[in-house]
């Protein structure tokens, strides 16, 4: 059962990574315009080079 000593922290870490990722998307306001964001990806303007 000693493997638990690694596995539990690892699983908690992975979960925390997901949580922090979610909080990042929340704080950078990525849920404010779901309609627009899903359409913006179809825009070809910055396909060739990144937006300056």
């Amino acid at each position: 059962m000693n493997v638990l000593a690694y596995l539990i922290p690892v699983s908690l870490m992975l979960g925390a990574v997901g949580l922090i990722g979610f909080l990042y998307t929340l704080r950078s306001r990525q849920y404010e315009d779901p309609e627009g964001d899903s359409r913006r990806i179809l825009d070809e303007t910055w396909d060739d080079r990144p937006k300056p």
Binding site: L23, R27, E32, D33, R40
Partner: protein, 725 residues
């Protein structure tokens, strides 16, 4: 763009760890907001942003497609109208929005805070549940204790953060000496955590950490759903208000200057052009005009106003212009005093108890009594405090209103979403429940059942010559009656020197004769015996001919009334207009009972009388004279064209020009109410099965978790079953 300090407190380590991204736009106080009602694809976004960014005075522009808005950060002073013109030249329809009418910032922050709590609760619940599964599948001794301790280490801080809305709610209820749904929730969570900690310390078998945090998660999900629904309706309602940027033209030293209405003060001289709404109470100093008072009184016949007449805020100038000296502004105007009727009436309606609160009133004391009885019984039976407390905690956890907390919001979210797509905006949280109870519908006439746009009656009865002259004269004016005549089409006579005489009508010369089109006394006989809306056309010194008008019904009104009657509702009409006009409209719409000449107070009194008879009234109205009635009624609805005050007073707003959605909204509300009752029943059945197990001491954390999740999921699925047939 500069970084905006985020006002939210750092509530968890995650917030501190994640820097706020400052490159994403935040609506700043000096941002200009534009409504873009017709955008729908990425090309629209692209062209709107490109058109705005091409201007030298725009620092950045960002379109939000979900809200159909553009946020523009200007450089220096930019007029919103100039931006609208820029977008118009790019082929886009835009309207300036009044940012002070939008409180979306506070709402957004509250929504994000709730979502953050939901996310943390979800994360913690998943991890604790993972550890609990290990315990249930047979972890023993030291392993079990370790798993319990890890669970506690996750659950305690998570509950402390996520459970705040419930603890705060319970505290508010208790300090007001009431019981709300939050009290048993908070008590169950705290007691479960407390006994579980105690059990863990004594290396006991059962710990309810998973139940406590899952409870938080489900209940937060219900709260979030409820919040989203209300925020969506509120922001749509606010947008209607924000579209009407109130502006007035003030004359200072002979120079007209456009200013916000809020900046006006008593003694100011204000210019109101034809078609404009009067922003203040005042006295006419210059000009003569006809006023449309229908928003204030329901009266459709225009009132003449000349130098020295008193005018009130809310009246519309039909022909103009008028120069007015303000005698009362803002809160002191007659318009605001009418709006105060609303505040009084709303205090009366606060008596309505929502279904959820009714359930809580039955449920909360019952649960507490049951838990105390279970504790006392086991205390007497075994004399063991630890066992008795564990049983009491199990009873509280199992009866905890996860399903009850989801039963109402899940249904209202589904129903409001369906109604919103049909153009019905639900503003109040309990409007759907109240709509389902309605048995009487009271309609206002002017602007509600009718379009408020006059139509010519019996045009062919007017002699041909007079018709041609009237057409020619009508084309020279923007008065609504002239517009109605001009809309008749046909050949116009060659009338020369057409000029409009403000407040009277239009005159000109035809075949060397003076001709006039206008109100009685100026054209036509001095005293007009006819009761309806009419105007006169006079050729030379000959006889004058009367042209009659009627207000036309909105499209689909007859069908709507018939459908409502089929649904078993009584229908009435109340209007401030004259008896004759009211009964004519009532006949056309198919309404039997109509009351004319009602003052705003009469409308309120009539609705109060209906309520006293045990009836539940749905009031549909649009004018200021309806606001009192709207607020008094059991539930109220106003069309989007209504005055702002009327929309604020009503529970629902109907977008679009047709009433077709009303019978469907009623059906949907009744279906939603049935679904809510079903949900309560499902939740009760789960409790009836699980509570005896808990009281008997047979409930394990596994059974608690199963009962809780299963009932919550059943209730949510039941709510999602199509409400809309």
């Amino acid at each position: 763009m500069t970084a905006v300090p985020d006002p939210r407190p750092m509530a968890c380590p995650g917030c501190a760890a994640v820097p706020a991204d400052t490159t994403v736009p935040v609506a700043q106080p000096d941002d200009i907001l534009l409504s873009l009602p017709e955008i729908h694809c990425h090309t629209c976004i692209r062209s709107a942003e490109a058109a705005l960014m091409d201007r030298a005075d725009v620092a950045r522009a960002r379109v939000n497609l979900t809200l159909k808005r553009a946020y523009v950060t200007p450089v220096g002073d930019v007029d919103a109208d100039a931006l609208v013109a820029t977008l118009a030249s790019a082929g886009l329809v835009a309207y300036p929005l009044d940012p002070t009418a939008l409180q979306s910032k506070a709402t957004e922050a509250a929504g994000r805070a709730l979502l953050m709590r939901l996310a943390v609760a979800g994360f913690a619940a998943m991890n604790v549940m993972l550890l609990s599964v290990a315990v249930w599948s047979g972890a023993t001794d030291a392993t079990r204790d370790m798993f319990h301790w890890i669970s506690a280490a996750i659950a305690l801080p998570a509950v402390a953060f996520c459970g705040q809305p419930f603890f705060a709610g319970a505290w508010r209820a208790l300090s007001a000496r009431r019981l709300s749904m939050d009290v048993p929730i908070a008590l169950a969570i705290l007691l479960a955590l407390g006994t579980s900690l105690w059990e863990t310390a004594l290396s006991g078998h059962h710990a309810y950490f998973d139940a406590a945090i899952t409870l938080c998660f489900f209940l937060l999900a219900g709260r979030y759903l409820e919040f989203r629904t209300r925020a969506a309706a509120r922001s749509a309602a606010e947008e209607l208000t924000a579209l009407e940027v109130p502006r007035a033209t003030r004359i200072i030293g002979g120079v007209p200057l456009e200013v916000p209405v809020a900046d006006l003060s008593v003694g100011d001289t204000i210019l109101v052009r034809a078609g404009g709404r009067i922003p203040v109470d005042g006295i006419v100093r210059d000009g003569a005009a006809e006023l449309d008072r229908s928003m204030l009184t329901g009266e459709t016949i225009p009132m003449p106003a000349a130098v020295g007449s008193n005018v009130a805020a809310g009246e519309t100038v039909l022909s103009g212009p008028l120069t007015i000296e303000a005698t009362a502004v803002g809160r002191d105007t007659a318009l605001h005093r009418l709006a105060d009727l609303v505040a009084v009436a709303e205090a009366g309606r606060a008596r309505y108890t929502p279904l959820a609160d009714k359930a809580a009133a039955l449920y909360a004391p019952g649960v507490h009594i049951l838990a105390v009885l279970a504790w006392a019984g086991w205390m007497l039976w075994t004399g063991d405090m630890r066992v008795a407390l564990n049983i009491a905690a199990a009873v509280l956890i199992i009866t905890c209103p996860c399903a009850l907390g989801l039963a109402v919001p899940a249904v209202t979210t589904a129903a409001s979403g369906a109604l919103f797509r049909r153009g019905v905006l639900i503003k109040s949280a309990t409007a759907l429940e109240r709509l389902a109870e309605v048995d009487t519908v009271v309609f206002d006439k002017t602007g509600t059942l009718t379009e408020g746009v006059p139509q010519v009656l019996d045009w062919d009865d007017v002699p041909e010559e007079a018709r041609h002259v009237a057409l020619a004269l009508a084309r020279g004016s923007t008065h609504p009656l002239s517009v109605a005549i001009a809309g008749q089409g046909g050949a116009a006579a060659r009338v020369r020197r057409v000029r409009e005489v403000a407040g009277y009508g239009t005159e000109g010369t035809w075949n060397g004769m003076p001709v006039r089109l206008g109100r009685a006394g100026w054209a036509g006989p001095e005293d007009d015996a006819h009761e309806g809306l009419c105007t006169w056309v006079q050729l030379g010194n000959g006889a004058a001919h009367r042209i009659r008008f009627a207000d036309t019904l909105r499209p689909g009104v007859r069908e709507t009334i018939a459908a409502l009657r089929d649904a078993g509702l009584d229908i009435e009409m109340m209007s401030g207009d004259r008896e004759v006009a009211v009964s004519a409209t009532a006949r056309a719409a198919g309404i039997d009972r109509a009351h004319g000449g009602c003052l705003p107070e009469d409308k309120v009194a009539r609705i109060a009388a209906l309520h006293a008879d045990g009836r539940r009234v749905l009031m549909v109205g649009d004018g200021l004279n309806d606001t009192g009635a709207l607020a008094t009624a059991h539930v109220s609805l106003s069309p989007a064209s209504a005055l702002d005050a009327a929309r604020v007073a009503s529970d629902m707003v109907l977008l679009g020009a047709r009433f077709d959605a009303l019978p469907e909204a009623l059906r949907c509300a009744r279906a939603a109410r049935r679904r809510i009752t079903e949900n309560f029943r499902i939740a009760t059945i789960y409790n009836v099965i699980a509570v005896p197990l808990a009281v008997a001491g047979l409930a394990t954390p596994l059974i608690a978790a199963l009962a809780m999740s299963a009932s919550s999921i059943t209730v949510s699925l039941n709510a999602m079953r199509g409400i809309w047939r």
